[in-house]
Structures are given as structure tokens and as C-alpha cells.
Amino acid sequence: MASDRLATSTGTRPKDALATYLSDLAAQLRGPRRRREAILTELRDGLEQATQDRIATGLPPDRAASAAITQFGSPCAVADAFAGELTTAYARRTIACFIATGPLVGIWWLLLLNPSPWRTGLIAFVAAIPVIPLIITAIAAAGGTLATTGRLMRWLPETGPALALAATIAIATLCMIIDLTMITMIMVSGAPTRPLMIMACAASLTRIACSITTMRHANLMQSLMI
């Protein structure tokens, strides 16, 4: 491991030792890029401060850097320690994207199908758009996960990283089922092709691609957490 290797290398320049350590750590962090970069910048500052503190006590720079690295722990251990936070950050960001882009897909289908629940009644409305219960389930799961991994976790039971990731996979799966159902429904209806239909299908196909990518990433992160 890098810390063991560096702790014994007395001839290494401190800056090089810290750079090697951070490079090893960067290779092992998994999660949103900006969050990873922020973690590395923060740890770089901490390591340099720890090195300076040791130099101030009289240690030679190379040994000071090695001692600071040993104190911080191996890149593998530090990456493991950050895995939970990075997973939660990924889940929150992905779920927020689904919530933000949901109306951009839904609006085309609403314009195309033009349902009037106040005229036809709720049952006829759900019959016209049979995915309504799935949409409500996805919104509830997304809202619940965001609430219990964010500020509301002070009052609500906190959702852990594994559960947040599972919720992300479930929401992506629901979105895919919703989009596939809507596309299939409009195709078998035999309705004439209109620009609104093309827009609605294109929006759903784009979200299906995003859902597949999300499921692939999330499954990969899930396998690394086990």
C-alpha cells in the first residue's frame, strides 16, 4: 500500500510523496467527479498542514511527509471511509436529476394525450395514463430518499448509502417501465404520427438511455460496496 511504501522511502521529496499518495487515493475513489476532486483538494491541504506541523517540530521534510501519510491512513482505507458519503452524493444527485427532468418528459405526453381528469373523472384519467401509480411511486421514493439523506435526516430516520443506492436503481427502473409503457401504448394505439408524438417518444427514449446508464453505474457501485 502507498502509505507503507512511502513510510519507508526516506529519499522521496515530500511533494512527490504526497502527490503519489493522492494519486493512489484518486484511483480508488468512486462517485461524482466534483465531490471526488473536493475530497482530494481537502485532503491535500490536510496532508500539507500535517507535514508542515511535523517539520516545525524538527523532523526532516521527507520523514515529516511519511509520518503525515501514515497518520492519514492507506489510500485504500481512506477511499473505503469516503465510499458511503460518495455513494450518497451520487444517489442524491441522480435522484435530483430524475426529479428535475421528469416534467420535461411528462409535459410532452400530457400535451399529446390531453387528459381532462376534471371532466372524465379520476378513473378515466388513470385509464388514459395507466402509469400514473408508477409515477406517484417514483416521486414518493425520490422525495423520501432526498429527505432522509439531506437536512430532514435530523428528524427522520437516516437512509444509509446502500439503501439510497437501491432507491436510485428502483427509481431508474420505474422510469424505464413508465417510458416503455407509454411508448408501447402510443405505438399500438395506431394513432397518426404527429410532431407531439415524436417529441414525447424522443423524450422518453432519452430518459430510457439515462435510466440504463444510471442502473449500470449504480449496480457497479453496489458491487464495489459489498
Binding site: E42, R44, D45, G46, L47, Q49, G73, A77, A81, G150
Partner: protein, 115 residues
């Protein structure tokens, strides 16, 4: 003195971090050092415990952070939010209650024999 294992602090780490940040903003490494020096070396917590815990507290809205440039380095300084001050007061009250109960129970004394 033996360093305390992080798992022994489970449930109390949040309060300790909030208490360390109460006097003013500090960066992550300074928080680790404050925990160590403030406990006479008892709380020598690893980086992998403190930094992720700070990030979690920020996610919960109990602390906030600002990026500064110090000596050419980018530094992230954490400070308590109003919600963090309230949470710290609550945690202090809970700890007083808990520690009084545990201290009372752990005192060496003769327990009354049960029938």
C-alpha cells in the same frame, strides 16, 4: 493513555465535532488536532473517521463550509450553522443525562441482594 477506538465513539462523534467547531471555523485537519489536544490525546481519531463525518454533518445542515486560499493552498473551513448550535445544545443535555446515569451505575458499590 490508550487511544480510543472510533467505534466506541459511535453516536457521540457528531456532538464532539460540533463542540470542536463551536468556538469558530476550522479546517478538517485542525478538527482532528483539536479533538486530540482537547482530550489530552485520548481522542486520536483517524482521517477516515473525521473527514467523512464532517461531510455527513454538512449534508444534514448542521455545519457549512467555505473554501479559502491559505498560503497558496485551497482550504475548506467548516463552521456551525444555527441548526448546528441548537443540535449541540440538545446533544450536551443528552450527554449530561447519559453520563450521569452511566457514572452512577459504574460506581463501585455493593448492590442490594435480591430475594
Amino acid at each position: 493513555m490508550l487511544p480510543m477506538r472510533p467505534e466506541l465513539l459511535k453516536g457521540h462523534l457528531d456532538a464532539l465535532l460540533l463542540a470542536v467547531l463551536e468556538p469558530g471555523p476550522q479546517h478538517g485537519y485542525a478538527v482532528i488536532e483539536s479533538l486530540r489536544s482537547g482530550s489530552d490525546g485520548t481522542l486520536d481519531l483517524p482521517t477516515g473517521t473525521v473527514y467523512p463525518a464532517l461531510h455527513r454533518l454538512e449534508r444534514a445542515g448542521l455545519i457549512a463550509s467555505d473554501w479559502q486560499t491559505v498560503g497558496g493552498r485551497r482550504r475548506r473551513a467548516y463552521h456551525l450553522t444555527p441548526a448546528g448550535h441548537i443540535a449541540l445544545s440538545e446533544q450536551r443535555a443528552l450527554w449530561d443525562q447519559f453520563s450521569t446515569a452511566v457514572t452512577t451505575l459504574l460506581k463501585r458499590r455493593t448492590w442490594p441482594a435480591t430475594a
